[in-house]
């Protein structure tokens, strides 16, 4: 009755790779944050899919935790990006290279 689990896996892989694509191609820190959110969601889709596949609720509980951590991560990440913007007048991740070498 339900959709085949491998479809969800492919969907998850697609979303994950889209997020990775964003990280690889964009230099805006905010885009980074959003791409990371996409990747986390891909992981969540995976968790939920396997939760249903095995008829075990652990996957769903884990996905909940992931959400909570993602929320926290976004809060801190945005704080960091704000400071970055304040110090460098920019949110380009390539500019903030003060600690390099």
């Amino acid at each position: 009755m339900a959709v085949d689990t491998s479809y969800y896996l492919i969907l998850s892989a697609a979303v994950f790779c889209t997020g990775l694509f964003g990280i690889l191609t964009r230099r805006n820190a905010l885009l980074f944050l959003m791409s990371v959110e996409l990747m986390l969601n891909a992981a969540n889709i995976n968790l939920v899919a396997f939760s249903q596949y095995y008829g075990n609720l652990t996957g769903q509980v884990f996905a909940l935790f992931t959400m909570a951590l993602a929320a926290a991560e976004v809060a801190v990440g945005i704080g960091i990006i704000l400071v970055l913007y304040r110090n460098f007048e920019d949110v380009d991740v390539a500019e903030a290279a003060t600690m390099r070498w």
């Binding site: 990775l20 990280i23 690889l24 230099r27 980074f32 991740v93 390539a94 290279a97 600690m99 390099r100 070498w101």
Partner: protein
Amino acid sequence: MAGELAFDIAPAIVALPFASFLAVLALGNYMPKKGASAGIAATAGSLVLSLFALVTVAGGSTYQQDLFTWSGAEEVPLHFGIFIDPLSAMMLVIVSLIALLVHVFSLGYMNDEGETGLPRYYSELGLFTFSMLAFVMADNLLMAFMFFELVGLCSYLLIGFWFREDGPASAAKKAFLVTRFGDYFFLIGTVGIVATFGTSRFVSTESHTAFPVLAEEALAEGGHGVTTFLGFGPEAWFSIIGLLVLGGVIGKSAQFPLHTWLPDAMEGPTPVSALIHAATMVAAGVYLVARMYGFYALLPTVLAIIALTGGFTALFAATMGVVKREIKQVLAYSTISQYGYMMLALGGGGYVAATFHLMTHAFFKALLFLGAGSVIIAMHHNEDMWDMGGLKNKMPVTYYTFLAGSLALAGIVPFAGFWSKDEVLYEVLVHGLGSAGTTGTILLVAYAMGLVAVLFTGFYTFRMVFLTFHGEPRTETARDPEPVRWNVKLPLVVLGALATVAGVVNMVPVEKVLGIKGIDYLHQFLDPETELVSNLTAHHYEEVLHDVSGYTADATAFGSESTTVLISAGLSLGLALVGVGLAYALYGRSPTPEEHTDKLGGLKTLWYNNYYQDEYQVWLASGLTLPLAKLADRFDQGIIDGAVNGVGRTSLTGGSYVKRIQTGIVTNYAALLALGLVALLLIVGVTGGWFA
């Protein structure tokens, strides 16, 4: 032994000058006479205690005490200890007496002249006296070495007392470096002795045996019981050690070729010159040989070298003294020459003679230096003898005491120098005549050099006297010299008396010619009967010299013993008188003497330039050692450091390239991560059959 009051308080002999050093160093500016009083009090105390010890020793006691063991309590005990026997007791008296007189004289030479830095001066004098007394009292070679070094340091400080001028600073450095060059060998020799014998004691105690005794036993038993190194047999190895230690002696006692520092050391204050050259630093070398004479007596090769060095130095330095213009320079070369005599005596088997000459020389040379100091005060620190003349009437005390010292130096009977110098030459002569083979020949050669030096000694001494005191004054200053006070005259008078009569302690020729028994007091004194020093006595040395080194005294070569004595004494006295007469003929007869040095021709230049010793030593340093050092430096910098730096540079360069990976841009890291993940997935997938 223990229980004698004089010995119980013996450490105070050393401690007093040290206390004076500390006190003057800390509080000198607030003390009476800027610290001179403390120094005088301390050295006077030392003198009294030393005399007390001397009297006790003369009564037949000796004393040895370990004070402090600072390392290797079981295997090789390295310790501080004091040892008082006739030799060291006599030396203690000489050192403390001269130190006391020099302190008193300094009142006139330094305080009255308004010098600055007097607390420094007196504290350094205190340290100097302390070091020398401790050196004399040392009961082992290592401790002796330490204080030997300390003496060298003090001489450096004192010679460079007027360090703001170029001359004294440079002279101080030269003295330090040259003596240190000798001490380098001394140090190796000390280590060698400790390594070979397991001890460096001069004196046998109940629990330990002295190293000369061990060496004697080892030679008798064919090398049993000692450790030799580098594959040498015991005799050769002992000779090497002896020569190494002798290096320090040659440096300190200003023997050829390390004598060059001594004339330069005249840049120091004149009382310091008196202290250094009469009683302390320079005497230390000769004293050291006398101290361990039981060891050297076993080594005929080393003895021959000592004798030749001494004889050559005596003649060599005397020739240079002939042409000098400055009064202190003449005295400097005479000092070198006289220490040559002492070495000659030691090498020639005349242990007592060397000690005797050490004592008399301490008196008359201190007297001459202090007299010269008095003249220098009078001449407003002009030392050129050609600017003097006619001082005889202006400063009679100085003149007569100086004359007594000069007669002693020249070896004119009956002044102290005659007796001691005569005994030196006599001992060498009889040993030279008596010993067979090369030993005898070498001793006779050394004796000949010493004998010729007598002529020169008489000449330069009285040239100095005539130029300084006789004739017409040649400058305004000499016409109206500055008067000197009691504190200058008192030491002169004391020393003048001693220089005149000190010979009576050992009138061996008189004894032998007239047959009066028992007036060779010094011989008896240095030949005590006690158990502790049974191997440190003059007759023991004589036996060892005869048995091991083949030294034989032949007093009857010219008939009877008294004939030999008379011939020897007459020869040296005659030559001395010839020298004096020559000096009178050239410089004393006319009230306005002329320089006769030009008649010497090429010799004059050679002597003026001190045989170019300085030049060749400088060439050794700058022409030979410096290029070698530069070569070594280039090797070190280029090859060794180059390899090390190369390794560092390689990793630095490599690192600076590799670090380019670390762009600091997140995207690059993410790309690398993703690429790695892709590769990993591909590998795992292909090997795991995911794509089947």
